[in-house]
């Protein structure tokens, strides 16, 4: 078992009101699984991903990652966990604009404390793996959206993390480029990586072996991707009909 979430809650206080972004989420993910998290905007997907990525600390609940209870860890300990265990891929890429692709990919290794030569070798290999061997010296603004996301994936892979987390990785890409990225995920899955992919598109969830559907911070279904995607489509149709009905 790589991930175990037990009754995770994440509440925000906005003015007088309490927002339940996650409201008692319990899931388990095995090593090597490819899980998508689907749900409508505001359902709590990003919050869940931030908790999984140790970027955010839940209000209550227990989180066991790779055998360690990370629920009560300090800021610095969590930074270490993020560096060793987790590779992030964000919708908006989150690359350092002034640095080259090479330097961006090396960054997590800087915080790992590796020497320059090893960083260089590993970053070059990771960029090769995502098909960007000829773009290492480009800065983000000299790259297309798809290429930027590949740099981000290389950066996530370079530390050989136990978990890859992607939050709407195709959200800022056109459909053809998005398709390439999803193919890349398929390859990574075949290579044995554990993937969690956040999406609001049933079409993408349908291609994952497993999908977890969130609604208002609660897990409403958990099963094979194709099946959960169908449910999600049906739910959407119902919501649309309700909106049109008098």
């Amino acid at each position: 078992m790589l991930i175990r979430l037990e009754d995770i809650r994440r509440y925000y206080t906005v003015g007088e009101e309490e927002v339940h972004a996650l409201d008692g989420v319990s899931i388990a993910i095995e090593k090597g699984e490819w899980t998508s998290i689907i749900g409508q905007s505001g359902s709590g997907k990003s919050t869940l991903m931030n908790v999984l990525g140790c970027l955010d600390t839940p209000t209550s609940g227990r989180y066991i990652l790779n055998g360690q209870d990370v629920s009560g860890m300090s800021d610095n300990a969590l930074a270490d966990i993020r560096n060793r265990e987790i590779g992030f891929i964000f919708q908006t890429f989150q690359l350092l604009p002034r640095e080259t692709a090479q330097a961006n990919v090396e960054l997590p290794l800087v915080y790992r404390g590796l020497r320059a030569r090893e960083r260089h070798e590993r970053a070059t290999a990771a960029l090769e793996k995502v098909g960007l061997a000829n773009r290492v010296h480009h800065r983000p603004n000299e790259l297309s959206g798809g290429q930027r996301q590949r740099v981000a994936i290389a950066r996530a892979l370079v530390t050989e993390p136990s978990l890859l987390l992607a939050d709407e990785p195709t959200g800022n890409l056109d459909s053809a480029t998005g398709e390439e990225i999803i193919r890349l995920f398929e390859q990574l899955h075949s290579a044995g990586h554990t993937l969690v992919l956040v999406t609001h598109e049933p079409a993408i969830a349908a291609r994952c072996p497993r999908a977890v559907r969130l609604m208002d911070g609660k897990v409403v279904s958990d099963g094979p991707g194709a099946q959960v995607a169908l449910e999600s489509r049906a739910e959407r149709a119902r919501a649309a009909a309700a909106a049109v009905a008098p």
């Binding site: 931030n50 990525g53 970027l55 955010d56 800021d75 610095n76 930074a79 270490d80 993020r82 560096n83 060793r84 992030f88 964000f90 989150q94 690359l95 350092l96 002034r98 960054l107 997590p108 800087v110 915080y111 790992r112 404390g113 020497r115 320059a116 950066r155």
Partner: protein
């Protein structure tokens, strides 16, 4: 190795911030630049004066002291000049008295200045800035510093007989008689015609301010007759030996008190100045320069620190997203803190370097244009750079701590 390359990375990032907006950076660094430039040029002036005074005093010899009704050297603070004005003047007879009745005294001379004059020969003339001095024939011996480059100094009988002769400083001689000997030629000074009998050897500027080569010296009697009698003399006294300086001073004091009717127990109505008192004057001077410099410096360093604080707060705000990304990828608080602290130190260090260059420039300019004997001491360089880095550290810590405390999720959401 690991720490070093991390440091290098951070220094590189700091230069990135500097170059991102060079004009803004320069303006925010201005305080540090001015602070450091002030320190360096002040130190250069004090150090230069110190070296110069040491050298000048060395030439003066340890056996000499002066007697005058005026306080010697440069003075600070309120001085009641009228009190000194009311004192009885010193005359030639006082010089003779000291020479005759003080056994510890080897010789003594009297001198007085008559102001600035234009000196003219048949063909050329100087600017009206030549200092004219009247002195007795022992003057050369008592000042100890000046030799004669050409010709001779005047004799006691020439003083007694009010001969119309003059000894020129080298600069005056060079201006009036370029490429020929001035000896035996005549010059006009303030309407009087005088025959040149000698030229003083080159001396340079005393304390960098008074040009000792742009003077003329003539027999005291001649000078008083020509330019005014009501001058009180300064008397230069040489003791028989280094061990007799104190004794000579005591004898001179006793003789003069009697001569000037000073009641027993009353303070002297004249001043005795030694090398030490000149040194003391110099120390006063450098303390005033240092205090003024320290004030300006402290003020501009605070201004500079606020500049650094400002540029770093802006930098942290502009790079909130970058900080979020770095934290997401595993940067601990200490790393972020270090990154921004090093950036602040690098920035102000750059300001320090610019200030240093500027300070050297000011020191050089002061020497070249005004003849101040400025010398930048090596430790002033170290002090300036340490100071600027210190300012960067002190004022950079707060923005750096703010960066380190940022929440990665919030930070990455920033545009």
């Amino acid at each position: 190795m690991k720490g070093l390359s991390g440091l290098f990375d951070n220094v590189r990032l700091a230069f990135g911030t500097l170059w991102a907006n060079p004009l803004r950076s320069l303006l925010t660094l201005l305080g540090v630049v001015i602070g450091v430039a002030t320190v360096v040029s002040m130190m250069a002036l004090i150090e230069g004066l110190r070296l110069k005074v040491t050298r000048d005093l060395g030439q003066l010899g340890a056996n000499t002291f002066t007697v005058s009704k005026w306080p010697g050297g440069v003075n600070f603070g309120r001085i009641d000049w009228r009190r000194f004005q009311r004192r009885p003047a010193f005359h030639l007879s006082d010089v003779q008295l000291i020479r005759q009745s003080c056994p510890a005294v080897k010789t003594a001379s009297g001198q007085t200045g008559f102001g600035l004059f234009k000196v003219a020969s048949d063909r050329a003339e100087t600017s009206p800035n030549v200092f004219a001095m009247g002195a007795t024939s022992e003057w050369l011996e008592t000042t100890g510093i000046l030799g004669i480059a050409e010709g001779r100094f005047y004799s006691p009988s020439e003083v007694e007989e009010e001969r119309k002769v003059v000894v020129l400083g080298t600069e005056v001689a060079a201006q009036l008689f370029p490429g020929e000997s001035p000896l035996g030629q005549t010059v006009r000074i303030g309407g009087k015609v005088l025959r040149v009998i000698g030229v003083l050897s080159k001396r340079g500027k005393f304390l960098g301010l008074f040009n000792m080569d742009n003077i003329v010296v003539l027999p005291l009697t001649t000078a008083m007759d020509a330019y005014g009698k009501d001058h009180s003399l300064r008397i230069n006294v040489v003791a028989q030996g280094p061990e007799l300086v104190q004794r000579a001073q005591d004898e001179v004091t006793a003789v003069l008190r009697r001569r000037r009717d000073v009641a027993p127990g009353a303070p002297n109505n004249f001043e005795i100045d030694t090398n030490e008192s000149v040194t003391r004057t110099f120390n006063n001077l450098s303390r005033v320069i240092a205090a003024g410099g320290a004030g300006i410096c402290l003020l501009s360093l605070i201004v500079g620190g606020i500049g650094i604080l400002n540029i770093m707060l802006v930098s942290v705000t502009e790079r909130t997203r970058e900080i979020g990304i770095r934290k997401a990828l595993g940067a601990k608080r200490g790393r972020i803190l270090g990154q921004f602290a090093i950036e602040a130190v690098t920035l102000s260090f750059v300001g320090g370097i610019i200030g240093l260059v500027l300070g050297f420039g000011i020191a050089f300019l002061a020497r070249w244009a005004f003849g101040f004997p400025t010398v930048v001491p090596p430790w002033a360089v170290v002090l300036a750079l340490a100071m600027s880095s210190g300012v960067g550290l002190v004022f950079g810590i707060y923005p750096a701590a703010r960066a380190a405390r940022l929440d990665p999720v919030e930070a990455m959401r920033m545009e």
